[in-house]
Symmetry: C2
Subunit: 208 residues, 2 copies
DNA sequence: TCAAAATGTGACCATGCGGCCAAAAACCAG
DNA sequence: CTGGTTTTTGGCCGCATGGTCACATTTTGA
């Protein structure tokens, strides 16, 4: 019998454990995207996954832990995909353009993830009012952009500008457009937005 | 005794009714901002407002109706404030800059509103899966910007560009930066972002 | 001034939720 | 095969929630 408080991961998670966790997280993303956060009880998620409710309790410490796992999963998937594509480019200007293009590509092909992502923003500071955790979520994205920008400035590809400040604006523009698209898919042309953003920030960064 | 189903607003709402509704909505905004959506029960809100729980049920058809009222209130406040300031400017370029500046000013001075706003995004389609309502929420903002842009193009202040497309980008940038600031206030410099956005879109729109 | 309407109260209720557990089932090493 | 371990099941429980109601209080208007 697994003790109630997990023994600090004494052994590696079994194959079944990893698979089940993954399955539950993915089902939960779909369920939340479809019915909203409040409409997605553990029972609902279990039913969608075709398992008993107890299984979720067995693999996750509680609802909060499941939500945390969902957040991590969504963020990791997106980050991995984007950075993979960025890494294939050499020049800073290409990296920046690819960052934007990959972001929109991923958003466009993973709508449920971002619908759920949106539903979960409100739950971010639930556990202990830890507003601070949220910073941890966003900082890597801004950091990635800022790194590209700084590198471009170092090798004179880019002109001088405050990299950190601009990275906030770039990430903001991407997320803000995503938000509009989540709330009103028919009203937003993701492809056009992606194109314009690339042109806009290319113009804004490239040396004369 | 008021009938359960409201008689289609046969008479104008009384003074007390209007005041109470306003009080409840404002208290609810604060409560949700402080404790999160799931942590803000009707009982909590009532307590914060110093009234009995039944009063909320008396003035609102249910929790969903209250949330809807909150959304309308937040949106109306913001929209009114911004458009008031925009209206004071004559030239299109000034209107655009003022739109951006006013947006950030309002965001910066009404944090609780936007924390709650963020918490409520997930509840937008709760009632009937009406994803469509969301469009109604965002469209006015984009419309306002597009109107400014079009006017500027007509009188040659602005160069030619797809106004609708750019308005999506402008509103997106504002909201995306707001989002980062909500999640991580210490990590974002609103003033700098406002300045950069104004410069960026001035550059992007103004005729040569 | 006073009855009727509007508003507020606090207790009450049904419901659904997250969490728990004892027993069954599946899995696996020896 | 077998005994121990992991995983799953399905039902149960306590609790908090949104909503309702009979009654108290205040406001209104003639």
């Amino acid at each position: 019998m697994r003790p109630k408080t997990r023994p600090l991961r004494s052994t590696r998670p079994s194959f079944i454990e990893a698979a089940r966790r993954q399955q539950i997280v993915e089902t939960a993303i779909a369920t939340i995207a479809a019915r909203g956060l409040e409409g997605a009880s553990l029972a609902d998620i279990a039913q969608d996954a075709g398992i008993s409710k107890g299984v979720i309790s067995y693999h996750f410490a509680g609802r909060a832990a499941l939500i945390q796992a969902i957040l991590d999963e969504i963020l990791a998937q997106s980050h991995t995909y984007i950075m993979d594509r960025v890494a294939r480019r050499r020049r800073a200007a290409d990296k920046l353009a690819e960052y934007i293009r990959a972001s929109f590509d991923f958003i466009g092909t993973h709508r449920p993830n971002f619908v759920t992502w949106l539903n979960l923003w409100g739950s971010l500071r639930s556990p202990e009012q830890r507003t601070r955790y949220n910073a941890r979520l966003y900082e890597p994205c801004r950091m990635a952009i800022a790194t590209i920008l700084s590198a471009g400035q170092r090798n004179k590809e880019f002109k001088p500008f405050p990299a950190r400040e601009l990275s906030v604006v770039i990430q903001g523009a991407i997320d803000g457009i995503m938000l509009q698209w989540i709330l009103d898919p028919a009203g937003i042309d993701l492809r056009a937005a992606s194109r314009r953003l690339r042109a806009l920030f290319d113009w804004q960064t490239r040396a004369a």
